[in-house]
């Protein structure tokens, strides 16, 4: 074991003045620990899942090969993967942003659903406006609604002491019921018989594809949001304050930071990201708001944020991986006759392994700072 109370001197990797100044070997050790432990947990996941698949009567190697092909093997599967990655980037941010302040928000599904519903309502109200204006208003409505939904959980925590994990989960269920109510009643398109939906946006008003790709612009929104979140949290005073609250609330209060304000704004941004995901699902995938919005993206987002260790930039590769896993589900079902729940099992094992690996941090001498 390493003495954790010892001061952490840093040894510069390069002399002052050189381009590498400021980078230290100890910082590299920390990064290596933050990358290698999750990777190790994912390898352990692959072993356990392989045994599981073998018990179910499929060849593990063939399964992994098919998963790779279904996710990244062809141009078509890449596009399928990227299509699914887009909402995951945004719902993962809904968990990762509040986590900077030590808040565990798990109601991203609710913010996505309420954002999708409100953006569809805004689209109905703006019908006839030019597409760019219509989509702009839809995006704002979706982000405002999703943001308000999670900010409510944040506010209840700050002002009433209500646990944000439980309240955001309850709010997710309320959001789904509210969406069903609106889609079934006031916002329903009378022409949608079997599956109650809002009136279709129309082909001309949909978010198009990125030129040269068969992937909608939601992917770009997600990537920009991840980078912007990283910059906000690591390179601005606001982010420094937020992370200070996450490190030690009392110290942050002593330093004069407004804990409630930081918490509310961060929760709003987190919800806005998930709300935007809902808007993209409406305006780029389904064409209207309906029950398909409840697709579990919010819950997969929790898993992604935890694997990425709540780092907004690390969310990108992890979301890509889980987008790929989801995309390969169909192929596994067709070729190996494995049920679609196989993907859920894999996600569950991965989540358990990643959380259990949290205990390994600080246990390996090689990753610790040297004096």
């Amino acid at each position: 074991m390493v003495d954790e109370t010892a001061p952490l001197p840093t040894r510069p990797l390069a002399p002052a003045g050189s381009p590498l100044a400021g980078l230290s070997l100890d910082a590299l050790r920390g990064t290596a620990e933050a990358v290698l432990i999750p990777v190790g947990a994912l390898v352990a996941t692959a072993v356990v899942f392989g045994i599981f698949v073998a018990l179910a009567g499929a060849d593990p190697l063939e399964t992994y090969e098919l998963m790779y092909r279904g996710a990244f093997g062809t141009w078509f599967s890449w596009q399928n993967t990227l299509q699914r990655t887009a909402p995951l980037l945004l719902t993962a941010l809904c968990v990762a942003l509040p986590a900077q302040l030590g808040l565990v928000i798990i109601g991203g599904e609710g913010a996505l659903v309420i954002g999708g519903m409100c953006s569809a309502a805004a689209g109905m109200a703006m019908m006839g406006a030019p597409p760019w204006l219509l989509l702009g208003v839809m995006a704002l409505a979706g982000m405002a609604a999703g943001g308000a939904w999670i900010a409510l959980a944040g506010a209840l925590r700050q002002f009433r002491g209500v646990n944000e994990t439980i309240s955001s989960l309850l709010l997710a269920y309320i959001a789904i019921a509210l969406m069903n109510h609106m889609v079934e009643g006031p916002l329903r398109d009378p022409a949608s018989l079997n599956k109650p939906s809002t009136p279709p946006l129309g082909e001309a008003n949909m978010i198009g594809s990125i030129p040269g790709l068969d992937v909608h612009w939601g992917l770009v929104f997600g990537l920009v949001a991840c980078v912007a979140s990283y910059v906000l949290m690591r390179r601005t005073t606001f982010g420094f304050g937020a992370r200070m609250v996450g490190g030690n609330v009392r110290a942050a209060r002593m330093a004069g930071l407004s804990v409630a304000k930081l918490g509310m704004i961060t929760c709003f941004l987190a919800g806005a990201a998930a709300g935007l995901a809902g808007m993209v699902e409406v305006a780029a995938v389904h064409g209207s708001a309906n029950g398909s919005l409840v697709a579990g993206y919010g819950y997969t987002g929790i898993l992604i944020a935890f694997i990425a260790r709540q780092n907004p930039l690390a969310v990108i590769p992890v979301a890509l991986m889980f987008g790929g896993i989801a995309a390969s589900g169909g192929l596994l079902q067709r070729r190996l006759d494995l049920p679609d729940a196989t993907i859920l099992v894999l996600q569950g094992i991965a989540f358990v392994m990643i959380l259990a690996s949290d205990t390994l941090y600080g246990r390996f001498r090689v990753f610790q700072p040297r004096g």
């Binding site: 179910a56 565990v104 798990i106 209840l156 700050q158 002002f159 009433r160 002491g161 209500v162 646990n163 994990t165 439980i166 309240s167 989960l169 309850l170 709010l171 269920y173 309320i174 019921a177 509210l178 069903n180 109510h181 079934e184 009643g185 819950y299 929790i302 898993l303 935890f306 049920p339 679609d340 729940a341 196989t342 993907i343 859920l344 099992v345 894999l346 996600q347 569950g348 094992i349 989540f351 358990v352 990643i354 959380l355 259990a356 949290d358 205990t359 941090y361």
Partner: protein
């Protein structure tokens, strides 16, 4: 069927309270026991679904629904053990582990239960308490399952165990102050393991009610979040088993309100009534929580109220 009008609504809510509350009751008592030991298990939704699936599968394969109930409990206990073992490692967040096990439990249940969606398994018997009435509505409302009666008896029993026995005292000590328990020579992790496993056992039985009595078949949409709501229900009940019984009946009745109103022609807001239990919990939490003190009755070691 006679038309009972608005009396029918009241009767349907009562019937719903009796019929729907059993899974709520078992899961919340299980969650209560776990939380009394100072740890929260947010994964009981997965345990519940796993219990529902294994109970149905065993009942179908062996022809004995009671064996199914037992196996559901054992499967639940297994998940409880897994939860406790992972949470026993240092620096592992129990809330997140719960979410992970929720995902794993539902995934495993859907995976293994694929083959049991079609066939009809023998289900649990009910006792007719409505023989004295001529009204078919009253008769069907008073068809009471043995598991419900067991659950009703379990609540005071659990209260007695927690307040009057040595085991109850140990669980409460570990839940209120791990340091004190350690000083007295108890293994905190071992006590929590036992409490989480027993809690999982109860949640598994709650799941078996879903597939073996009401709705009475196995499919992937079987649970409507009873396992998740257990956490809220326990907070609502202030960590008191008898109040858990009341809360379970209330939540069951609230869930039956929507369909009951629909049957008398009130179709507006059907989906909003589905949200009634969640809204109720949220309102109660807002009304009773305070930023300056912990909830009364909450175990001192519990991460969600600290």
């Amino acid at each position: 069927m006679e038309d009972l009008g608005w009396w029918g609504v009241a009767l349907a809510v009562l019937a719903g309270a009796i019929r729907v509350s059993t899974p709520f009751l078992f899961v919340s008592l299980g969650e209560l026991l776990t939380e009394k030991s100072g740890r929260i298990n947010l994964g009981l939704e997965g345990t519940l679904v796993m219990g529902a699936m294994s109970a149905y599968a065993i009942s179908y394969m062996t022809g004995s629904p009671w064996l199914g109930v037992l196996v559901a409990g054992l499967a639940g206990a297994l998940f409880g053990v897994l939860h406790a073992l992972i949470c026993g490692l240092p620096r592992v967040n129990d809330i997140a582990v719960g979410i992970a096990l929720m995902l794993l439990g539902t995934g495993l249940a859907f995976f293994l239960g694929k083959a049991f969606i079609q066939p009809q398994a023998p289900i649990l018997p009910a006792i007719e308490f409505g023989w004295w009435s001529d009204l078919p509505q009253v008769r069907s409302a008073l068809q009471i399952n043995v598991l419900f009666i067991l659950g009703v008896l379990l609540a005071p029993f659990l209260l007695w165990v927690l307040t009057n026995t040595k085991w109850g005292l140990i669980v409460r000590t570990v839940g209120d102050s791990a340091d004190a328990a350690r000083a007295m020579g108890y293994s905190v992790n071992l006590v929590r393991l036992a409490a989480t496993a027993s809690g999982g056992f109860l949640a598994g039985i709650g799941g078996s009610f879903l597939s073996l009595y009401y709705p009475g078949s196995w499919n992937e949409g079987l649970s409507s979040g009873q396992g998740l709501m257990a956490v809220a229900l326990v907070i609502f009940a202030r960590w008191q088993p008898i109040r858990c019984l009341g809360a379970a009946l209330l939540f069951g009745g609230a869930g039956a309100l929507g369909p009951a109103l629909q049957s008398v022609g009130v179709t507006q807001g059907y989906y909003l009534f589905n949200a009634a239990p969640y809204l109720l919990t949220l309102v109660i939490m807002i009304a009773t929580c305070s930023p300056t003190r912990t909830l009364t009755g909450a175990p001192g070691e519990l991460s969600i109220t600290k």
